[in-house]
């Protein structure tokens, strides 16, 4: 019987996704992208009103009316895509996984129909460095600070035969004492605040912290609740942010690698 299963398994096609196809991929995430040419003040106003978490907002910058999109707050509900009359679409590629806090917000000049924020280096440019980067081992300790378990489900998927994180020398460890990186999900609840701090303290320096998901980045849909303390960076220092609700496994891989890359370059 077991022989049959192994035989069947060997006949299965190889499902592993090459790293090049993972970087920047965001299929199944419904993250929004702005089509600057189609943006009008009326559309900007409307999509800001339908956004449930304030990820979209209007602000002034250099005397211009601007549309702000903070990916850290976005729960990928798709309401802006529905009411954006073509000015908001599903992102085909997404390169904001693993960026530091300053880069997670994008701004568009509404009157000039153009993006003001500097272009973030796309994963394509980073590709060359990835292989040298992956000769290193990285031990990750996942920490749930109060998530809904959506992010956990996607992080668990990283070990399946499609993503197989272990091929990169990256693996999940049981103790924070063995970890180089903490992957923290969820808004930090009051009841978890102490445990989150203690876990962070238990990781030996140098250590990296990555906030995962809308809740980890900004508290997401739980912002303002009496039972939470806030986003992960309200409690411990964070090196990189992976937006999404939940981020897909490909977005998680892209984000983990981008944080690692920045750290190695430093």
């Amino acid at each position: 019987m077991i022989g049959d299963v192994i035989g069947q398994s060997l006949r299965q096609p190889n499902r592993i996704i090459p790293v090049e196809a993972l970087l920047g991929n965001c299929d199944g995430s419904r993250m929004p992208e702005i089509v600057a040419e189609r943006l009008t003040p009326a559309i900007a106003q409307r999509i800001t009103e339908v956004c449930p978490t304030g990820a979209l907002g209007m602000e002034e910058s250099g005397g211009h009316g601007c549309l702000k999109l903070s990916y850290g707050d976005c729960i990928a509900c798709g309401k802006c895509i529905e009411s954006g009359a073509g000015a908001v679409v599903r992102a085909k590629r997404f390169t904001w996984c693993g960026v530091p806090k300053a880069q997670i917000v994008r701004l568009w000049d509404i009157d000039g129909c153009l993006e003001i924020t500097p272009h973030t280096p796309s994963s394509d440019e980073a590709r060359g460095q990835i292989h040298s980067l992956l000769q290193r081992a990285l031990n990750i300790r996942q920490l749930d600070a109060g998530s809904c378990n959506g992010c956990e489900a996607e992080i668990t998927a990283l070990t399946n035969p499609y993503y197989d994180l272990e091929r990169f020398g990256i693996h999940f460890v049981a103790s924070p004492k063995h970890a180089d990186m903490l992957l923290v999900t969820g808004p930090v609840t009051r009841n978890m605040a102490e445990a989150v701090k203690a876990t962070y303290e238990a990781v030996a320096a140098p250590k990296l912290v990555v906030a995962v998901g809308a809740c980890g980045c900004s508290s997401g849909i739980f912002a303002g609740s009496h039972a939470i303390v806030g986003a992960v960076d309200a409690i411990i220092p964070v090196d990189g942010y992976i937006p999404g609700c939940p981020p897909t496994p490909a977005m998680l891989v892209s984000g983990i690698l981008k944080v690692l890359q920045r750290h190695v370059a430093r």
Partner: protein, 478 residues
């Protein structure tokens, strides 16, 4: 004093939920929901301006509900055997009740929480969690052991309590679905459908046959994904790597097929009050059904392997037994109940949506051990795969979304058989805004049975027993 209703054959009715609400004149009320074996659930509402008599000694399943009621509403409970705080931990001050008043900037305090002490020669305590070794949600387990044998297990949960029910208040009926999806992420579709059904009942809305049918496909797919993942997890916990890896591959194939059909991996943002946010293309639904057929054929292969491998049988059989009396007294639900001899399934007992047009049986077993729970999941996966095929092959026509009109004050209750069991939403809305939304997750009801399953087993078997329940911490804690 509450007169607990009885079923036709004279037994005490099954407790479904106890929760509080605030009435129009700011008065506290307590709602009891019972299942009498009729098509409809029975709801009893009592005023709770004064102390409330506990029913926990007659109906042990009420114990956690009453403690939650006390923590959230400050209702004094009389005659309860254990009134330690449940939802709020040491950091929460006495006398602050978030469901009664809008609370902000709650001060941090230090209360003392006493675990039950088991005393005697050679007894040791093992504390596990809240942070566990692995990609798991947080919770605390306090074992009292003699050698390897568990004498007593005490749970301390609510580490992921996020005040979700309070967040519903003031939200519009349409955006409430997004909050419902974040109660338990891996069962987000069941939550969205159950919430939407409660709104539809409150407003007297009838969704189209097409929306109902696609909802059924999503619900059964969620069950298939969940059960596949559980069977894989059980194999991983006994070191049976081949089958565990196989299961993760099957699960991923279903998640990827979902993206092609509805745009997201876990069917997030698909179900809303009134039906579905968008129509799924019939061709894509058929593609999904094909992917399900392939996945199920692979799944049945590993399922056969598991049931025939002696080392697996050795670990699964007689481990973590939940006896039928315990299951009944604690009113457990879902696969855990069905593995302990309780024939219970919302899809049949209180049928809803497209299930009314479907013919199927639910498996029931008597052993109550890890093997029984595994067998139940394997058998249920077969039913889910078949229901998806049948529904996809005869997908009705109709508008995906019909308008919902929540004018004035409306109230609705809905139950759905989620992969973990009976999930309920009770809600009240005023002019299109929610004033109360109560969520009964099956995990809240099943966690109290865990200590009974663990008792007498060795501590090394606990991860396996825990996995065989597969409960959501976030769903329980909300």
């Amino acid at each position: 004093m509450l007169a607990i209703p009885h079923t036709k054959d004279g037994a005490l009715a099954r407790l479904v939920a106890i929760f509080g609400s605030i009435g129009p004149h700011r008065e506290k009320r307590v709602h009891y929901i019972f299942d009498l074996g009729d098509t409809d659930y029975q709801e009893i509402v009592l005023p709770a301006s004064g102390p409330l008599d506990s029913i926990a000694l007659r109906v042990p399943a009420a114990a956690w509900f009453e403690r939650e009621l006390r923590d959230q509403y400050g209702i004094k409970i009389v005659g309860h055997p254990d009134l330690r705080p449940l939802v709020f931990h040491d950091n929460w001050p006495d006398g602050v009740y978030p469901m009664v008043d809008r609370v902000k900037d709650v001060p941090w305090t230090k209360r003392e929480y006493r675990f039950l002490q088991v005393q005697g020669e050679g007894i040791a305590e093992v504390a596990v969690g809240p942070v566990h070794a692995g990609i798991i949600e947080p919770g605390h387990f306090r074992f009292s052991v003699v050698g390897d044998t568990i004498l007593h297990l005490e749970l301390r949960h609510f580490y992921t309590h996020k005040g979700t029910e309070k967040l519903f208040e003031g939200s519009s009926v349409s955006s409430g679905a997004m909050i419902a999806e974040s109660v338990s992420g891996d069962n987000c579709f069941a939550h969205a459908v159950c919430y939407s059904q409660a709104i539809e009942k409150a407003c007297g809305t009838e969704v189209s046959p097409r929306a109902s049918a696609i909802r059924l496909i999503g619900l059964e797919l969620e069950r298939l994904i969940c059960h596949t993942s559980d069977i894989g997890g059980l194999c991983a916990d006994v070191g049976f790597g081949v089958a565990a890896a196989y299961a993760t591959r099957i699960k991923e194939s279903l998640l990827r097929a979902s993206v092609d059909c509805c745009g997201t991996r876990y069917w997030r943002g698909v179900a809303v009050p009134g039906g579905l946010r968008f129509d799924c293309d019939s061709g894509n639904v058929l593609e999904l059904a094909l992917a399900v057929a392939r996945a199920y054929s692979d799944f049945s292969e590993i399922a056969g392997l598991i049931l025939e491998t002696p080392s697996i049988q050795d670990r699964f059989e007689t481990a973590g037994v939940v006896r039928q009396e315990v299951a009944r007294e604690l009113a457990v639900v879902g696969p855990v109940a069905r593995a302990s001899g309780m024939k219970l399934d919302v899809r049949l007992d209180h049928s809803y949506g497209h299930y009314k047009n479907c013919q199927f049986e639910v498996p029931v077993m008597d052993d109550g051990d890890v093997m029984a729970r595994a067998r139940i999941r394997i058998a249920e996966a077969a039913v889910s795969a078949r229901l998806i095929q049948e529904t996809a092959n005869a997908l009705p026509h109709g508008d995906p979304l019909v308008p919902v009109n929540p004018r004035g004050e409306v109230q609705g209750f809905s139950a759905v058989e989620s992969p973990r069991g009976e999930l309920c939403y009770w809600l009240n809305a005023l002019d299109g805004r929610l004033t109360r939304c109560y969520v009964k997750s099956p995990s809240f009801q099943n966690w109290p049975a865990m200590p009974f399953a663990a008792e007498g087993n060795i501590i090394a078997d606990f991860p396996l027993i825990n996995k065989s329940f597969n409960l959501s911490y976030s769903g329980c804690d909300r």
